[in-house]
C-alpha cells in the first residue's frame, strides 16, 4: 500500500469511516490502521520492529525523565543508541547482507522522531507521554510513516489529546491538498524524471551541457516528487483533523544556502539543527568559530551519508557544508560590501542571490548521481567537456514531456503567487470545481498513461 497504489483508495475511506464511528477509540483506530498500512507496504516484520523499538523508547523515556546526573545521561544514550543502531543497520545492510535486501521502509523517520522525544525529555522541553498508544501512534501515523514530515513529539501528541470530529472544512482542504500533491507527482515529477534520466544518463561520458541542464531538471523533479508527497501526507492527516509540519516553503526563492535549508525539507533540517548541529556546536564552542565550522562540516557529511553510503552523497554533503561555512565566514564582509555599494534590499541583489543559490544547489545535487569516486571524477570532468553539443542537450527538452512538465511548473508558480491571498477550499463552487476537475484529469492522464515511479524519499 502506498499513496500511488489503488489499494490505498479503498483503505483510506474505511479508516475514515471507522474513525468517524468509533469516537472513543480514535487513537486505536489510527494506530491499527497505521500498523496495517506498514505491514502492507513493507511486510509484517516492520510493524513489529516499530512496536518493539517504540515500546522500548517509551519505557526508556520514563527512565530519562525520572533520573538525574550520570544515570539520566546513561538512559538517554541507551535509547538513542538503540535507535541509532537500528538506523545504522538499515543503512549498512548492503555491506554485510549479501542476499535479497531487507526492507527498512520508513525506519529513518521513526528513529528521528524517537531521538527527538528522548532528547526533549533529557533537556526538559517536555514531560514523558503517559499513554503508550499515543506515543506509538506518534511514531506510526500512516500518512507520514514512509517519508515524513519528521514531527516534533509535543506538537503531535498534544493533538491526540483532543481528536476532533471530521469537519467539512478539514475534509475539503485535506482532499484538495492531497490532490494537488498527487498532481505535482503525476504530472510534473514523472515527466521531469524522464528528461532528467535522458540528460544525466549514466554520468560517465555525459557532455557538460547535458549534465548542467540535467541538474536543473533533476532539482525540479526532486522538488515536485518530494513536496508532492508531503502535500499528500499533510492533506491526508488533515482529513482526520490533524496538522502536520510544513516541509517546503518556496525553496527556489532562497537567497542563500542557509535560507534554502530553512525552506527545503524543513521538518528534517530543523531536526538536524536541533538534535545534531546545536548539541555538537555546544560541545565544540570553546573553539569558537572553528568549532562551528567543524560542526557544520561533520553534520552535513553525515546528512549526505544518511541518504545512502555513497561517495557522491558524501560529496554532496561536503558541498553543502562548504556553502554554509563560506556563508558564515563571508557574512560580515558581504553586508559591509552591499551597504557600501548601495545594493542593500535592492531587487537586483535579491534576484542575483536567488539565481546563485539555485545554481549552487543544482551543482551539488549533480553528485548524488555518482555512487563511486570514479563517477565523482567523471562528473567534474564531464562538466567542462563537450560544450559544443549544447544544441543537442536543448533538443532533449523538445518534446511533450517537457511541455507537460513546464505547464505543471507554471501552475505551481501561479499557486505560489496566490498563496495567502486566496483559499481555494473556501472559494465558491464555480472556482473550486473546475480546479478539482483539472487536477483529477491531470492525475488520471499522468498516472494512467505513464504509470508512477516510487517516491524518491521513500528509499531513505
Amino acid at each position: 500500500v502506498s499513496f500511488k497504489g489503488l489499494a490505498f483508495y479503498a483503505f483510506l475511506p474505511v479508516v475514515l469511516g471507522l474513525y468517524a464511528l468509533l469516537r472513543r477509540r480514535r487513537v486505536a483506530v489510527l494506530l491499527g490502521a497505521s500498523l496495517a498500512f506498514y505491514a502492507l507496504a513493507g511486510g509484517w516484520r516492520l510493524p513489529l520492529l516499530l512496536l518493539a523499538t517504540g515500546g522500548a523508547t517509551w519505557a526508556l523515556g520514563w527512565r530519562v525523565a525520572g533520573s538525574s546526573g550520570g544515570a539520566r545521561r546513561a538512559w538517554l544514550w541507551a535509547g538513542v543508541g538503540m535507535n541509532l543502531s537500528l538506523l545504522l543497520l538499515s543503512k549498512t545492510q548492503a555491506l554485510w547482507h549479501a542476499g535479497a535486501a531487507l526492507t527498512f521502509l520508513g525506519v529513518s523517520y521513526f528513529v528521528f522522531q524517537s531521538i527527538a522525544y528522548l532528547a526533549d525529555l533529557h533537556w526538559k522541553v517536555m514531560q514523558p507521554e503517559p499513554s503508550l498508544g499515543d506515543f506509538l501512534l506518534y511514531l506510526a501515523f500512516f500518512p507520514r510513516l514512509v517519508q515524513g514530515p519528521v514531527e516534533r513529539p509535543q506538537a503531535f501528541l498534544d493533538q491526540l489529546k483532543a481528536l476532533p470530529d471530521p469537519a467539512e472544512q478539514d475534509l475539503r482542504a485535506g482532499t484538495l491538498r492531497f490532490a494537488w500533491g498527487f498532481f505535482k507527482k503525476a504530472v510534473v515529477a514523472e515527466r521531469a524524471a524522464v528528461l532528467a534520466d535522458r540528460l544525466l544518463g549514466p554520468v560517465h561520458g555525459q557532455p557538460g551541457p547535458f549534465l548542467a541542464l540535467g541538474a536543473v531538471v533533476y532539482i525540479v523533479q526532486l522538488f515536485f516528487d518530494f513536496s508532492g508527497y508531503t502535500d499528500m501526507a499533510i492533506g491526508c492527516a488533515r482529513l482526520f483533523g490533524l496538522r502536520l509540519t510544513e516541509n517546503f516553503n518556496a525553496p527556489f526563492l532562497a537567497t542563500s544556502t542557509a535560507d534554502l535549508w530553512r525552506r527545503w525539507h524543513i521538518s528534517f533540517s530543523t531536526w538536524v539543527r536541533d538534535y545534531m548541529f546545536q548539541p555538537l556546536q555546544m560541545e565544540l564552542r570553546r573553539f569558537r568559530q572553528g568549532g562551528t565550522l567543524l560542526a557544520m562540516m561533520v553534520v552535513f557529511a553525515l546528512v549526505g551519508l544518511w541518504h545512502r553510503l555513497e561517495a557522491g552523497l558524501l560529496v554532496w554533503g561536503l558541498w553543502q557544508g562548504l556553502y554554509m561555512c563560506t556563508g558564515i565566514l563571508m557574512r560580515p564582509w558581504q553586508s559591509r560590501f552591499y551597504r557600501a555599494a548601495g545594493l542593500e534590499n535592492g531587487r537586483l541583489l535579491r534576484a542575483w542571490r536567488v539565481a546563485v543559490t539555485f545554481l549552487m544547489a543544482c551543482f551539488a545535487l549533480l553528485f548524488v548521481h555518482a555512487p563511486t569516486w570514479a563517477l565523482v571524477g567523471d562528473t567534474f570532468q564531464g562538466l567542462v567537456r563537450g560544450w559544443a553539443r549544447w544544441r543537442e542537450a536543448l533538443l532533449v527538452l523538445d518534446n511533450a514531456d517537457a511541455l507537460v512538465a513546464a505547464g505543471g511548473c507554471a501552475l505551481a508558480v501561479a499557486a505560489l503567487a496566490l498563496r495567502g491571498r486566496m483559499d481555494l477550499a473556501a472559494a465558491p463552487r464555480l472556482v473550486r470545481w473546475p480546479v478539482y476537475y483539472a487536477l483529477a484529469l491531470g492525475i488520471f492522464f499522468g498516472a494512467h498513461f505513464f504509470g508512477l515511479r516510487q517516491f524518491i524519499y521513500a528509499q531513505f
Binding site: 533529557h122 533537556w123 526538559k124 522541553v125 542557509a258 539543527r273 548541529f277 546545536q278 548539541p279 556546536q281 555546544m282 564552542r285 570553546r286 569558537r288 568559530q289 562551528t292 558564515i328 557574512r331 560580515p332
Partner: protein
C-alpha cells in the same frame, strides 16, 4: 549591571553597535542573531561572566529576559 555587560557582549557578537537590550527581545528582533550565532553568543557570555551554560539551559531560553535571569542565577 549584568544587563549592560550582556548588551556589550551581544553588540560585539552580533556586530550591532546600537543594540539596546529589552527583556522581551528575541532572535527575531536582531537580523544577525540566528541559530548559528546563538551558540557563539552563549560561548562569549560564558567567558564574560565565568559561568557554564548547559544544553538544558539553552533549551529554556525564550527571550533576552530568560538569558538575564540565567546569568544572574549562575553568576550571582
Amino acid at each position: 549591571m549584568i544587563t549592560e555587560r550582556l548588551q556589550n557582549v551581544m553588540r560585539d557578537v552580533f556586530d550591532e553597535p546600537g543594540l539596546v537590550l529589552r527583556r522581551d527581545m528575541t532572535a527575531d528582533d536582531v537580523p544577525t542573531w540566528d541559530s548559528i550565532s546563538h551558540v557563539t553568543m552563549l560561548a562569549a557570555v560564558e567567558e564574560e561572566f565565568g559561568i557554564r551554560i548547559e544544553m538544558v539551559d539553552v533549551k529554556a531560553l525564550h527571550n533576552v529576559g530568560d538569558l538575564i535571569d540565567l546569568v544572574t542565577r549562575k553568576a550571582g
